[in-house]
Symmetry: C2
Subunit: 417 residues, 2 copies
């Protein structure tokens, strides 16, 4: 089934906000085997909305409109739908009562314009919106084509897409006899570039019939996307299982996740499973490593401390890195990285401690210590390991992201031994 | 002048990557007073590219196409342009030599398909691309309408947009006699919500004729956008000056930047100007405060340490927070926030030290200490100030962002005294 997406609203059209809803919807529809054929973005003008709707309805089996369902006069999606299809808009008493209830629950007076949200085009059905006031609208045309209109706030749009639109599209696909099972599995990989990974997996599609292989560079991770369509879910799962086995055989430890978890989540889960605590000492990453770990709710189960020692004096005062060591080797050096890791482990009492010291750029590089150079150390009960890494410089964020992920990966590999 | 944007490429259409180029271009064009009338997204199929081009050329004075200029057979923008306008594609010897030179400079053999990048539609001109191999294309139609095609990588697209497309649009506007001066100034505000700020500025447009006022919630900042169009640049500047004076009078210390600088940049610059050093002790923000500061190149001029003490033991070991204090009041409390700030100041030797301890959620809240509660402290030579803040909970990131910015704002206000 062919689907077209419409994003409506001046703030989207003019680039005031990024249109993440359309990207999200397109990826989700694609994942579920629907063909996204076109995306349109228009402003609030009624004539533009009508012409985009007519265009989209002509090119696709289903049209999904985002935005323009609110209470103000520049919310014109329903007016456009009525005009495009020659349908009157009717105020629905049950919807109106529902909108009124929501305002009562918020303790806010309902102004007359809020009643716009209780309108339906003749023949349309409302889609419940438990997270906001404007309901969605679903309309099935006599030729079987479908139109869905959803409100624009992502916190309302996304659940309504999953709860109402996807099942309705799925049902229509079954009705059309187009049903085919489909599935996707994403193996997340860290430690080699996309070109290297693609080289290692070059003959995968030939080896596993029915598999479609894709890559996504989710810097600094590589996502290997395994997809298949087949007559039954079991047939699809068999293809994906075979492909995953094959990929794991080729990539081994490079694969860190096949269940959607991020690298910080994988590391934290592995630490918790072994009842180990982690500390860190950061210089060039400036707190990014700690942020990545504490982005995960419940990180405190395993993460105890990161000493973001940006100044040399702080390395000495907090981590006990000797001033002579800093003077002799410089802050970006193997001895200092080792001393930072050991200091963080000692001061925190953690089982494992990471240290990062490097040159994130854009300034501060020298011929001996160029921008992108990072010394990593991991102190543990068995000693301290050190790794010298020269990351390519794209920008400051890039070097910092690579360094923080490389540090997490050291812990992952250490725990996998 | 009316401009339509086309984004081409399966990876964009299917939502594999966010279309940041179109958002960027739309915002830039809007800022320069061009009217973005429609945005289109299509895949790689030639027929789709042709139909979208025809549509866009019919609705706008200028069309800007992003993507599809590379060397592979699924790069079809020029083929589509030729087909849509009935123009032959010609290989340009100078362009071909240029592409060949770029491959030689990279030390890479040039495969025959790379020559596709040296094609031009009859009557078209190339737009230089010093950052990549595929040049852009500019075509002026006999009726004065313009078509621009730029390569998709953002690092090539964006500079070419600014260096070639904007000046050409500007020149065409002058040629049409549509020239009018325009300008924008953004005042960045922190400390009150958008509704409150809008209330304070409610009569600004009435007070300053010629001004267009806009808001953007760049969470947790509010951006007040002052815009004007007029007969001359001086007239526009006078309106913006008057409006800025008016806004500063109403909002006072809430305004932290009128020159594009971020809150961390403003704080770091103020510290450097006073030769002061800053340290921090973070709990709930988990390194975010340090990351925001070290996102700024040269942060080491003023930022020395953040102790991300996620576990209570780390607060004691690194910051000297007494265990009895933690036991008596809990980690999220005024006494602990004060002790953390004073400990960070003592251990780092910095002039100022911030501390944050709170409950970022989603779990960990209690009736007495709900999710979103954050204790902030700022230790300085004159003593230690404390602020108890209850932030609304939207998600974990939201609370952490509000808390980190509130902490930076404490420093800004302290230095402004």
């Amino acid at each position: 089934m062919r689907v077209s997406l419409i994003s409506t609203g001046e703030e989207i059209l003019r680039g005031e906000v990024q249109d993440t809803n359309a990207t999200h919807a397109a990826a989700l529809l694609d994942l579920h085997g629907f063909e996204v054929v076109r995306r349109h973005t228009c402003g609030d003008a009624l004539a533009d909305n009508v012409s985009v709707l007519l265009l989209a309805m002509a090119e696709a089996d289903a049209v999904l409109v985002c935005g323009g369902l609110g209470p103000t006069v520049d919310d014109r999606t329903l007016d456009a739908l009525g005009a495009a299809l020659g349908l009157p808009l009717l105020e629905d008493p049950a919807l109106l009562a529902d909108v009124r209830r929501k305002f009562e629950a918020m303790g806010v007076d309902m102004t007359p314009n809020q009643a716009r949200q209780a309108r339906l085009p003749a023949g349309g059905e409302s889609i419940p919106n438990p997270r906001g006031t404007a309901p969605g609208v679903r309309l099935a045309r006599s030729d079987g084509r479908l139109v869905f209109c959803l409100p624009g706030p992502p916190g309302e749009y996304r659940p309504m897409l999953e709860e109402a639109v996807l099942p309705a599209l799925e049902a229509e696909r079954v009705r059309r006899g187009e049903r085919a099972a489909h599935g996707q599995r994403v193996l997340k990989v860290f430690g080699k570039g996309e070109g290297h990974v693609a080289h290692l997996l070059g003959d995968l599609e030939a080896a596993v019939p029915g598999l479609v292989l894709g890559y996504r560079a989710a810097v600094p991770e590589i996502h290997v996307k395994l997809r298949s369509r087949g007559p039954t879910p079991a047939a699809v799962a068999a293809v994906l299982d075979e492909a995953e086995r094959w990929v794991r055989e080729r990539l081994g430890i490079l694969v860190f996740s096949a269940d959607g978890r991020s690298l910080p989540e994988v590391v934290l889960d592995a630490l918790v499973a072994r009842r180990l605590k982690l500390a860190a000492a950061e210089s060039c990453t400036g707190g990014l490593l700690a942020k990545l770990l504490t982005d995960v709710p419940g990180a405190s189960r395993a993460f105890v401390l990161s000493a973001v020692t940006y100044a040399n004096e702080a390395k000495t005062a907090v981590l006990g890195v000797r001033a002579e060591l800093l003077a002799a080797h410089g802050a970006v050096s193997e001895p200092v990285a080792r001393a930072m890791a050991e200091g963080a482990r000692r001061v925190s009492g953690a089982d494992l401690a990471l240290a990062l010291t490097g040159i994130a750029g854009p300034d501060g590089g020298t011929p001996e210590k160029p921008v992108g150079l990072v010394h990593l150390a991991l102190a543990h009960a068995g000693g301290t390991e050190h790794h010298r890494r020269q990351f390519p410089y794209r920008d400051r964020d890039f070097v910092r992201a690579l360094a923080a992920h490389a540090a997490l990966d050291l812990v992952r590999r250490h725990l996998a031994r």
